[in-house]
Protein backbone atom coordinates (compact mmCIF):
# COMPACT_ATOMS: atom_id res chain seq x y z
CA UNK A 1 0.00 0.00 0.00
CA UNK A 2 1.25 3.47 -0.92
CA UNK A 3 2.59 5.56 2.00
CA UNK A 4 0.29 8.28 3.29
CA UNK A 5 1.50 11.81 2.57
CA UNK A 6 0.12 14.40 4.96
CA UNK A 7 -0.40 15.13 8.61
CA UNK A 8 -2.44 12.00 9.15
CA UNK A 9 -0.46 8.76 9.46
CA UNK A 10 -1.81 5.32 8.50
CA UNK A 11 -2.88 4.71 12.11
CA UNK A 12 -4.88 7.95 12.18
CA UNK A 13 -6.65 7.02 8.96
CA UNK A 14 -7.38 3.60 10.47
CA UNK A 15 -9.13 5.31 13.39
CA UNK A 16 -11.20 7.37 10.95
CA UNK A 17 -11.98 4.18 9.03
CA UNK A 18 -13.24 2.34 12.13
CA UNK A 19 -15.62 5.20 12.92
CA UNK A 20 -16.82 5.18 9.32
CA UNK A 21 -18.06 1.64 9.84
CA UNK A 22 -20.87 3.15 11.94
CA UNK A 23 -21.72 5.98 9.57
CA UNK A 24 -25.29 4.68 9.09
CA UNK A 25 -25.97 4.36 12.82
CA UNK A 26 -26.99 7.99 13.17
CA UNK A 27 -28.86 8.24 9.88
CA UNK A 28 -31.76 10.64 10.29
CA UNK A 29 -34.03 12.59 7.97
CA UNK A 30 -32.81 16.10 8.71
CA UNK A 31 -29.07 15.61 8.47
CA UNK A 32 -28.94 12.07 6.98
CA UNK A 33 -25.30 10.92 7.44
CA UNK A 34 -24.06 14.25 8.82
CA UNK A 35 -23.49 12.98 12.37
CA UNK A 36 -21.72 9.86 11.15
CA UNK A 37 -19.41 12.02 9.05
CA UNK A 38 -18.81 14.37 11.98
CA UNK A 39 -17.92 11.39 14.17
CA UNK A 40 -15.40 10.19 11.57
CA UNK A 41 -13.91 13.66 11.00
CA UNK A 42 -13.57 14.07 14.77
CA UNK A 43 -10.98 11.27 14.79
CA UNK A 44 -8.60 13.35 12.66
CA UNK A 45 -9.71 16.93 13.36
CA UNK A 46 -7.18 17.69 16.11
CA UNK A 47 -4.31 16.44 13.97
CA UNK A 48 -5.01 18.48 10.86
CA UNK A 49 -6.41 21.69 12.28
CA UNK A 50 -5.50 24.20 14.98
CA UNK A 51 -9.21 24.79 15.50
CA UNK A 52 -10.83 21.33 15.62
CA UNK A 53 -14.17 22.59 16.93
CA UNK A 54 -14.30 25.15 14.10
CA UNK A 55 -13.55 22.37 11.62
CA UNK A 56 -16.35 20.19 12.99
CA UNK A 57 -18.75 23.15 13.05
CA UNK A 58 -18.29 23.52 9.29
CA UNK A 59 -19.59 19.99 8.72
CA UNK A 60 -22.87 19.86 10.62
CA UNK A 61 -24.87 20.37 7.42
CA UNK A 62 -27.00 17.74 5.65
CA UNK A 63 -24.94 15.05 3.97
CA UNK A 64 -26.07 11.99 2.05
CA UNK A 65 -24.35 9.59 -0.30
CA UNK A 66 -23.92 5.86 -0.78
CA UNK A 67 -22.57 4.50 2.55
CA UNK A 68 -19.73 2.71 0.80
CA UNK A 69 -18.60 5.97 -0.76
CA UNK A 70 -18.59 8.04 2.43
CA UNK A 71 -14.93 7.17 3.18
CA UNK A 72 -13.85 8.67 -0.16
CA UNK A 73 -15.61 11.95 0.63
CA UNK A 74 -14.34 12.02 4.22
CA UNK A 75 -10.78 11.41 2.94
CA UNK A 76 -11.17 14.31 0.52
CA UNK A 77 -12.60 16.59 3.23
CA UNK A 78 -9.69 15.76 5.55
CA UNK A 79 -7.21 16.69 2.80
CA UNK A 80 -8.95 19.97 1.94
CA UNK A 81 -9.24 20.91 5.62
CA UNK A 82 -5.58 20.00 6.16
CA UNK A 83 -4.62 22.37 3.36
CA UNK A 84 -6.55 25.08 5.15
CA UNK A 85 -9.66 24.89 2.98
CA UNK A 86 -7.89 27.14 0.48
CA UNK A 87 -11.01 28.86 -0.81
CA UNK A 88 -12.78 29.10 2.56
CA UNK A 89 -15.61 27.12 4.21
CA UNK A 90 -17.86 27.46 1.15
CA UNK A 91 -15.31 25.52 -0.87
CA UNK A 92 -15.33 22.52 1.49
CA UNK A 93 -19.11 22.55 1.55
CA UNK A 94 -19.23 22.71 -2.26
CA UNK A 95 -16.76 19.83 -2.45
CA UNK A 96 -18.89 17.71 -0.11
CA UNK A 97 -22.09 18.31 -2.04
CA UNK A 98 -20.47 17.83 -5.45
CA UNK A 99 -18.64 14.64 -4.52
CA UNK A 100 -21.61 13.26 -2.53
CA UNK A 101 -23.94 13.58 -5.53
CA UNK A 102 -21.46 12.12 -8.01
CA UNK A 103 -20.46 9.25 -5.74
CA UNK A 104 -24.04 8.49 -4.67
CA UNK A 105 -24.99 7.77 -8.26
CA UNK A 106 -21.85 5.72 -8.93
CA UNK A 107 -22.11 3.89 -5.60
CA UNK A 108 -25.77 3.00 -6.08
CA UNK A 109 -25.13 1.62 -9.56
CA UNK A 110 -22.02 -0.28 -8.45
CA UNK A 111 -23.24 -1.67 -5.13
CA UNK A 112 -27.06 -1.72 -5.10
CA UNK A 113 -27.39 -2.34 -8.83
CA UNK A 114 -24.40 -4.60 -9.42
CA UNK A 115 -22.23 -6.07 -6.72
CA UNK A 116 -24.90 -6.78 -4.10
CA UNK A 117 -27.40 -8.41 -6.49
CA UNK A 118 -24.51 -10.36 -8.03
CA UNK A 119 -23.42 -11.64 -4.62
CA UNK A 120 -26.98 -12.39 -3.46
CA UNK A 121 -27.86 -14.13 -6.71
CA UNK A 122 -24.79 -16.35 -6.54
CA UNK A 123 -25.45 -16.98 -2.83
CA UNK A 124 -29.02 -18.03 -3.67
CA UNK A 125 -27.77 -20.38 -6.41
CA UNK A 126 -25.29 -21.99 -3.97
CA UNK A 127 -27.95 -22.16 -1.26
CA UNK A 128 -30.45 -23.89 -3.58
CA UNK A 129 -27.84 -26.61 -4.20
CA UNK A 130 -26.77 -26.54 -0.51
CA UNK A 131 -23.16 -25.86 -1.61
CA UNK A 132 -21.90 -24.30 1.63
CA UNK A 133 -18.29 -23.52 0.50
CA UNK A 134 -19.79 -21.44 -2.32
CA UNK A 135 -21.96 -19.58 0.13
CA UNK A 136 -18.97 -18.82 2.36
CA UNK A 137 -16.88 -17.80 -0.67
CA UNK A 138 -19.53 -15.29 -1.80
CA UNK A 139 -19.68 -13.80 1.69
CA UNK A 140 -15.89 -13.51 1.99
CA UNK A 141 -15.39 -12.10 -1.52
CA UNK A 142 -18.19 -9.56 -1.15
CA UNK A 143 -16.77 -8.30 2.12
CA UNK A 144 -13.25 -8.24 0.71
CA UNK A 145 -14.55 -6.00 -2.09
CA UNK A 146 -16.38 -3.86 0.45
CA UNK A 147 -13.37 -3.42 2.72
CA UNK A 148 -11.14 -2.65 -0.26
CA UNK A 149 -13.45 0.02 -1.63
CA UNK A 150 -14.00 1.62 1.78
CA UNK A 151 -10.45 1.41 3.10
CA UNK A 152 -8.69 2.33 -0.11
CA UNK A 153 -11.41 4.90 -0.77
CA UNK A 154 -10.47 6.75 2.40
CA UNK A 155 -6.77 6.76 1.48
CA UNK A 156 -7.63 7.69 -2.10
CA UNK A 157 -9.81 10.61 -1.02
CA UNK A 158 -7.13 11.79 1.41
CA UNK A 159 -4.48 11.62 -1.31
CA UNK A 160 -6.55 13.38 -3.98
CA UNK A 161 -8.67 15.98 -2.21
CA UNK A 162 -10.51 17.95 -4.89
CA UNK A 163 -9.03 15.69 -7.57
CA UNK A 164 -11.27 12.78 -6.65
CA UNK A 165 -14.31 14.30 -8.37
CA UNK A 166 -12.46 14.11 -11.70
CA UNK A 167 -11.13 10.65 -10.88
CA UNK A 168 -14.64 9.30 -10.40
CA UNK A 169 -15.84 10.58 -13.73
CA UNK A 170 -13.01 8.80 -15.56
CA UNK A 171 -13.76 6.12 -18.20
CA UNK A 172 -12.17 3.45 -15.97
CA UNK A 173 -14.86 3.94 -13.34
CA UNK A 174 -17.57 3.87 -16.00
CA UNK A 175 -16.10 0.62 -17.39
CA UNK A 176 -16.12 -0.93 -13.89
CA UNK A 177 -19.78 0.05 -13.46
CA UNK A 178 -20.70 -1.53 -16.80
CA UNK A 179 -18.71 -4.66 -15.96
CA UNK A 180 -20.34 -5.24 -12.58
CA UNK A 181 -23.83 -4.57 -13.99
CA UNK A 182 -23.16 -7.07 -16.79
CA UNK A 183 -21.95 -9.63 -14.25
CA UNK A 184 -25.09 -9.12 -12.17
CA UNK A 185 -27.27 -9.51 -15.28
CA UNK A 186 -25.49 -12.75 -16.19
CA UNK A 187 -25.89 -14.11 -12.64
CA UNK A 188 -29.53 -13.02 -12.63
CA UNK A 189 -30.08 -14.86 -15.92
CA UNK A 190 -28.41 -17.98 -14.47
CA UNK A 191 -30.71 -17.82 -11.47
CA UNK A 192 -33.78 -17.38 -13.68
CA UNK A 193 -32.70 -20.35 -15.82
CA UNK A 194 -32.15 -22.48 -12.72
CA UNK A 195 -35.58 -21.61 -11.32
CA UNK A 196 -37.20 -22.43 -14.67
CA UNK A 197 -35.31 -25.76 -14.87
CA UNK A 198 -36.28 -26.66 -11.31
CA UNK A 199 -39.93 -25.86 -12.06
CA UNK A 200 -39.77 -27.99 -15.24
CA UNK A 201 -38.38 -30.95 -13.28
CA UNK A 202 -41.31 -30.70 -10.84
CA UNK A 203 -43.79 -31.03 -13.67
CA UNK A 204 -45.73 -29.00 -16.18
CA UNK A 205 -48.20 -27.70 -13.61
CA UNK A 206 -45.42 -26.13 -11.52
CA UNK A 207 -43.79 -24.72 -14.66
CA UNK A 208 -47.03 -23.10 -15.84
CA UNK A 209 -47.87 -21.78 -12.35
CA UNK A 210 -44.32 -20.38 -11.98
CA UNK A 211 -44.63 -18.67 -15.38
CA UNK A 212 -47.97 -17.14 -14.36
CA UNK A 213 -46.52 -15.91 -11.04
CA UNK A 214 -43.45 -14.49 -12.82
CA UNK A 215 -45.61 -12.59 -15.32
CA UNK A 216 -47.90 -11.24 -12.58
CA UNK A 217 -44.86 -10.24 -10.47
CA UNK A 218 -43.29 -8.53 -13.48
CA UNK A 219 -46.42 -6.46 -14.10
CA UNK A 220 -46.55 -5.76 -10.36
CA UNK A 221 -42.92 -4.61 -10.36
CA UNK A 222 -43.64 -2.25 -13.27
CA UNK A 223 -46.48 -0.72 -11.28
CA UNK A 224 -44.45 -0.51 -8.08
CA UNK A 225 -46.23 -3.34 -6.25
CA UNK A 226 -43.78 -4.90 -3.74
CA UNK A 227 -43.01 -8.55 -4.46
CA UNK A 228 -43.53 -9.53 -0.83
CA UNK A 229 -47.10 -8.18 -0.85
CA UNK A 230 -47.82 -10.23 -3.97
CA UNK A 231 -46.36 -13.33 -2.28
CA UNK A 232 -48.55 -12.72 0.77
CA UNK A 233 -51.64 -12.22 -1.37
CA UNK A 234 -51.01 -15.49 -3.20
CA UNK A 235 -50.97 -17.56 0.01
CA UNK A 236 -54.74 -17.60 0.74
CA UNK A 237 -55.44 -17.95 -2.97
CA UNK A 238 -53.28 -21.09 -3.18
CA UNK A 239 -54.84 -22.54 -0.02
CA UNK A 240 -58.39 -21.84 -1.23
CA UNK A 241 -57.82 -23.19 -4.75
CA UNK A 242 -56.26 -26.40 -3.39
CA UNK A 243 -59.16 -26.90 -0.96
CA UNK A 244 -61.77 -26.33 -3.69
CA UNK A 245 -59.98 -28.52 -6.25
CA UNK A 246 -59.57 -31.31 -3.71
Amino acid sequence: MAPVVGKLARGDLNRVFVRLLFVQATLHRRGMQSMGVLHALDAGAELISDDPSGLLARHTEHFNTNPNMVPVVVGGVLRIEEEGGREGPASVSRFKQASASALAAAGDVFFAGGLKPLALTLASVFAIYKFFPGLVAVFVLYNAALITVRYRGLSFGYARGWGLVEAFSSPRVQRALVLVRTGAALAGGLLAGMIATEAYHRGWTTLVLSAVVAVVAWFGARRGVPASRLALALFPVAWLVATVVH
Binding site: V23, R29, M35, G36, S53, N66, S210, A227, A242
Partner: protein, 229 residues
Amino acid sequence: MHDLVVIAIIAGLLALDDRAGWQSLAGEPVFSSLIVGLALGHAGVALRCGVVLQLVWLSIGAARGSRRPNAVVGGVVGAAAACLSMHRTGDPREPLVVAGAVLCGLLAGEGAQWLNTRAGTARERWLEKFELPKDPGVASRNLTVYVIGSALYVALVDALVAVVAVAASVAVVELIIDRAGDGAAGVVAWLTVLPAIAVATVAHAFALRTLRRVAALGCLIAVVMAWLL
Protein backbone atom coordinates in the same frame (compact mmCIF):
# COMPACT_ATOMS: atom_id res chain seq x y z
CA MET B 1 -29.36 -20.81 26.48
CA HIS B 2 -33.05 -20.24 25.81
CA ASP B 3 -33.86 -20.24 22.08
CA LEU B 4 -35.52 -16.83 22.22
CA VAL B 5 -32.43 -15.27 23.84
CA VAL B 6 -30.26 -16.74 21.07
CA ILE B 7 -32.66 -15.35 18.46
CA ALA B 8 -32.66 -11.91 20.12
CA ILE B 9 -28.85 -11.81 20.14
CA ILE B 10 -28.62 -12.89 16.50
CA ALA B 11 -31.31 -10.40 15.39
CA GLY B 12 -29.67 -7.57 17.35
CA LEU B 13 -26.21 -8.22 15.95
CA LEU B 14 -27.49 -8.60 12.39
CA ALA B 15 -29.49 -5.37 12.74
CA LEU B 16 -26.31 -3.63 13.89
CA ASP B 17 -24.48 -5.00 10.87
CA ASP B 18 -27.21 -4.21 8.37
CA ARG B 19 -28.63 -0.91 9.57
CA ALA B 20 -25.94 0.71 11.66
CA GLY B 21 -22.76 0.17 9.80
CA TRP B 22 -20.93 -2.56 7.98
CA GLN B 23 -23.67 -4.01 5.74
CA SER B 24 -21.78 -7.25 5.22
CA LEU B 25 -24.73 -9.24 3.75
CA ALA B 26 -24.96 -11.29 6.96
CA GLY B 27 -28.38 -9.72 7.52
CA GLU B 28 -29.73 -10.95 4.18
CA PRO B 29 -32.12 -13.91 4.60
CA VAL B 30 -29.91 -16.36 2.72
CA PHE B 31 -27.10 -15.82 5.25
CA SER B 32 -29.10 -14.96 8.37
CA SER B 33 -31.19 -18.12 7.97
CA LEU B 34 -28.02 -20.18 7.87
CA ILE B 35 -26.76 -18.52 11.06
CA VAL B 36 -30.11 -19.11 12.80
CA GLY B 37 -30.24 -22.68 11.48
CA LEU B 38 -26.76 -23.46 12.76
CA ALA B 39 -27.60 -21.94 16.15
CA LEU B 40 -30.89 -23.84 16.49
CA GLY B 41 -29.72 -27.10 14.93
CA HIS B 42 -31.80 -27.25 11.71
CA ALA B 43 -29.52 -25.60 9.14
CA GLY B 44 -31.08 -27.33 6.11
CA VAL B 45 -34.68 -26.33 6.90
CA ALA B 46 -33.66 -22.79 7.86
CA LEU B 47 -31.66 -22.36 4.66
CA ARG B 48 -34.59 -23.58 2.56
CA CYS B 49 -36.76 -20.94 4.18
CA GLY B 50 -34.04 -18.28 3.81
CA VAL B 51 -33.55 -18.93 0.09
CA VAL B 52 -37.24 -18.47 -0.66
CA LEU B 53 -37.36 -15.24 1.37
CA GLN B 54 -34.21 -14.04 -0.39
CA LEU B 55 -35.68 -14.75 -3.80
CA VAL B 56 -38.85 -12.82 -2.94
CA TRP B 57 -36.79 -9.90 -1.56
CA LEU B 58 -34.11 -9.99 -4.26
CA SER B 59 -34.00 -6.24 -4.63
CA ILE B 60 -31.90 -5.09 -7.55
CA GLY B 61 -31.26 -1.44 -8.24
CA ALA B 62 -30.91 1.75 -6.33
CA ALA B 63 -31.99 1.32 -2.72
CA ARG B 64 -32.26 5.07 -2.16
CA GLY B 65 -35.80 6.23 -1.60
CA SER B 66 -37.30 2.76 -1.81
CA ARG B 67 -38.85 1.04 1.19
CA ARG B 68 -37.91 -2.59 1.49
CA PRO B 69 -39.38 -4.85 4.15
CA ASN B 70 -37.11 -5.44 7.14
CA ALA B 71 -35.14 -8.34 5.67
CA VAL B 72 -33.13 -8.88 8.87
CA VAL B 73 -36.17 -9.49 11.08
CA GLY B 74 -38.02 -11.33 8.29
CA GLY B 75 -35.10 -13.68 7.62
CA VAL B 76 -34.44 -14.40 11.28
CA VAL B 77 -38.12 -14.91 12.11
CA GLY B 78 -38.75 -17.16 9.09
CA ALA B 79 -35.72 -19.35 9.77
CA ALA B 80 -36.33 -19.51 13.53
CA ALA B 81 -40.02 -20.36 13.05
CA ALA B 82 -39.04 -23.17 10.68
CA CYS B 83 -36.42 -24.57 13.08
CA LEU B 84 -38.54 -24.32 16.23
CA SER B 85 -41.63 -25.75 14.53
CA MET B 86 -39.64 -28.71 13.18
CA HIS B 87 -38.19 -29.20 16.62
CA ARG B 88 -41.50 -28.99 18.49
CA THR B 89 -43.90 -30.72 16.11
CA GLY B 90 -41.50 -33.12 14.40
CA ASP B 91 -43.89 -32.96 11.45
CA PRO B 92 -42.52 -35.03 8.56
CA ARG B 93 -44.10 -32.65 6.01
CA GLU B 94 -41.06 -30.37 5.85
CA PRO B 95 -42.28 -28.31 2.84
CA LEU B 96 -45.49 -27.46 4.72
CA VAL B 97 -43.52 -26.31 7.77
CA VAL B 98 -41.19 -24.26 5.58
CA ALA B 99 -44.16 -22.72 3.74
CA GLY B 100 -45.71 -21.64 7.04
CA ALA B 101 -42.36 -20.23 8.17
CA VAL B 102 -41.91 -18.33 4.91
CA LEU B 103 -45.36 -16.79 5.34
CA CYS B 104 -44.41 -15.73 8.87
CA GLY B 105 -41.07 -14.36 7.64
CA LEU B 106 -42.83 -12.26 4.99
CA LEU B 107 -45.35 -10.95 7.50
CA ALA B 108 -42.62 -10.24 10.06
CA GLY B 109 -40.57 -8.35 7.46
CA GLU B 110 -43.52 -6.13 6.57
CA GLY B 111 -44.56 -5.66 10.20
CA ALA B 112 -41.04 -4.91 11.40
CA GLN B 113 -40.60 -2.29 8.68
CA TRP B 114 -43.82 -0.61 9.77
CA LEU B 115 -42.82 -0.76 13.45
CA ASN B 116 -39.30 0.49 12.70
CA THR B 117 -40.70 3.56 11.01
CA ARG B 118 -42.73 4.32 14.17
CA ALA B 119 -39.99 3.40 16.62
CA GLY B 120 -37.47 5.32 14.52
CA THR B 121 -39.34 8.58 15.15
CA ALA B 122 -38.17 8.66 18.79
CA ARG B 123 -34.59 7.98 17.70
CA GLU B 124 -34.80 10.70 15.04
CA ARG B 125 -36.11 13.24 17.54
CA TRP B 126 -33.25 12.41 19.88
CA LEU B 127 -30.67 12.72 17.06
CA GLU B 128 -32.13 16.02 15.89
CA LYS B 129 -31.59 17.47 19.37
CA PHE B 130 -27.84 17.06 18.97
CA GLU B 131 -25.89 20.29 19.10
CA LEU B 132 -22.15 20.41 18.60
CA PRO B 133 -20.43 21.58 21.82
CA LYS B 134 -17.63 24.15 21.52
CA ASP B 135 -15.17 22.03 23.51
CA PRO B 136 -13.63 19.44 21.14
CA GLY B 137 -13.32 16.87 23.94
CA VAL B 138 -16.98 17.14 24.88
CA ALA B 139 -17.98 17.15 21.20
CA SER B 140 -16.02 13.96 20.63
CA ARG B 141 -17.58 12.25 23.64
CA ASN B 142 -21.11 13.37 22.74
CA LEU B 143 -20.73 12.18 19.16
CA THR B 144 -19.59 8.76 20.36
CA VAL B 145 -22.50 8.55 22.80
CA TYR B 146 -24.99 9.44 20.06
CA VAL B 147 -23.50 6.93 17.59
CA ILE B 148 -23.40 4.08 20.12
CA GLY B 149 -26.82 4.99 21.55
CA SER B 150 -28.45 5.14 18.14
CA ALA B 151 -26.85 1.86 17.02
CA LEU B 152 -27.94 0.09 20.21
CA TYR B 153 -31.48 1.43 19.84
CA VAL B 154 -31.71 0.00 16.31
CA ALA B 155 -30.35 -3.36 17.52
CA LEU B 156 -32.64 -3.46 20.55
CA VAL B 157 -35.80 -2.65 18.56
CA ASP B 158 -35.05 -5.34 15.97
CA ALA B 159 -34.15 -7.88 18.66
CA LEU B 160 -37.41 -7.26 20.53
CA VAL B 161 -39.52 -7.33 17.38
CA ALA B 162 -37.81 -10.56 16.28
CA VAL B 163 -38.42 -12.29 19.62
CA VAL B 164 -42.11 -11.33 19.73
CA ALA B 165 -42.57 -12.25 16.06
CA VAL B 166 -40.85 -15.65 16.50
CA ALA B 167 -43.08 -16.52 19.47
CA ALA B 168 -46.18 -15.62 17.44
CA SER B 169 -44.84 -17.28 14.26
CA VAL B 170 -44.31 -20.68 15.92
CA ALA B 171 -47.97 -20.63 16.94
CA VAL B 172 -49.04 -19.60 13.42
CA VAL B 173 -46.96 -22.34 11.77
CA GLU B 174 -48.44 -24.94 14.12
CA LEU B 175 -51.90 -23.64 13.30
CA ILE B 176 -51.19 -23.93 9.57
CA ILE B 177 -49.88 -27.49 10.03
CA ASP B 178 -52.99 -28.45 12.04
CA ARG B 179 -55.58 -26.78 9.85
CA ALA B 180 -54.01 -27.16 6.39
CA GLY B 181 -56.10 -30.24 5.58
CA ASP B 182 -56.84 -30.38 1.86
CA GLY B 183 -55.23 -26.98 1.42
CA ALA B 184 -51.77 -28.36 2.32
CA ALA B 185 -51.05 -29.13 -1.34
CA GLY B 186 -51.86 -25.52 -2.23
CA VAL B 187 -49.62 -24.15 0.52
CA VAL B 188 -46.73 -26.33 -0.68
CA ALA B 189 -47.43 -25.30 -4.30
CA TRP B 190 -47.29 -21.66 -3.14
CA LEU B 191 -43.84 -22.28 -1.67
CA THR B 192 -42.72 -24.01 -4.87
CA VAL B 193 -43.73 -21.18 -7.20
CA LEU B 194 -42.52 -18.26 -5.01
CA PRO B 195 -38.97 -18.32 -6.51
CA ALA B 196 -40.58 -17.31 -9.82
CA ILE B 197 -40.88 -13.82 -8.33
CA ALA B 198 -37.08 -13.59 -8.57
CA VAL B 199 -37.33 -14.22 -12.33
CA ALA B 200 -39.65 -11.22 -12.59
CA THR B 201 -37.26 -9.13 -10.46
CA VAL B 202 -34.35 -10.04 -12.75
CA ALA B 203 -36.39 -9.33 -15.91
CA HIS B 204 -37.53 -5.99 -14.50
CA ALA B 205 -34.11 -4.90 -13.19
CA PHE B 206 -32.19 -5.70 -16.36
CA ALA B 207 -34.69 -4.28 -18.83
CA LEU B 208 -32.03 -2.44 -20.86
CA ARG B 209 -31.46 -4.12 -24.20
CA THR B 210 -27.81 -5.07 -23.65
CA LEU B 211 -28.36 -6.26 -20.08
CA ARG B 212 -31.44 -8.20 -21.17
CA ARG B 213 -29.33 -10.04 -23.73
CA VAL B 214 -26.70 -10.88 -21.11
CA ALA B 215 -29.40 -12.10 -18.69
CA ALA B 216 -30.93 -14.20 -21.49
CA LEU B 217 -27.48 -15.67 -22.15
CA GLY B 218 -27.15 -16.55 -18.45
CA CYS B 219 -30.56 -18.16 -18.52
CA LEU B 220 -29.62 -20.18 -21.60
CA ILE B 221 -26.36 -21.31 -19.97
CA ALA B 222 -28.27 -22.51 -16.88
CA VAL B 223 -30.80 -24.44 -18.99
CA VAL B 224 -28.09 -26.06 -21.16
CA MET B 225 -26.03 -26.97 -18.08
CA ALA B 226 -29.08 -28.54 -16.43
CA TRP B 227 -29.82 -30.48 -19.61
CA LEU B 228 -26.21 -31.70 -19.94
CA LEU B 229 -25.86 -32.68 -16.29
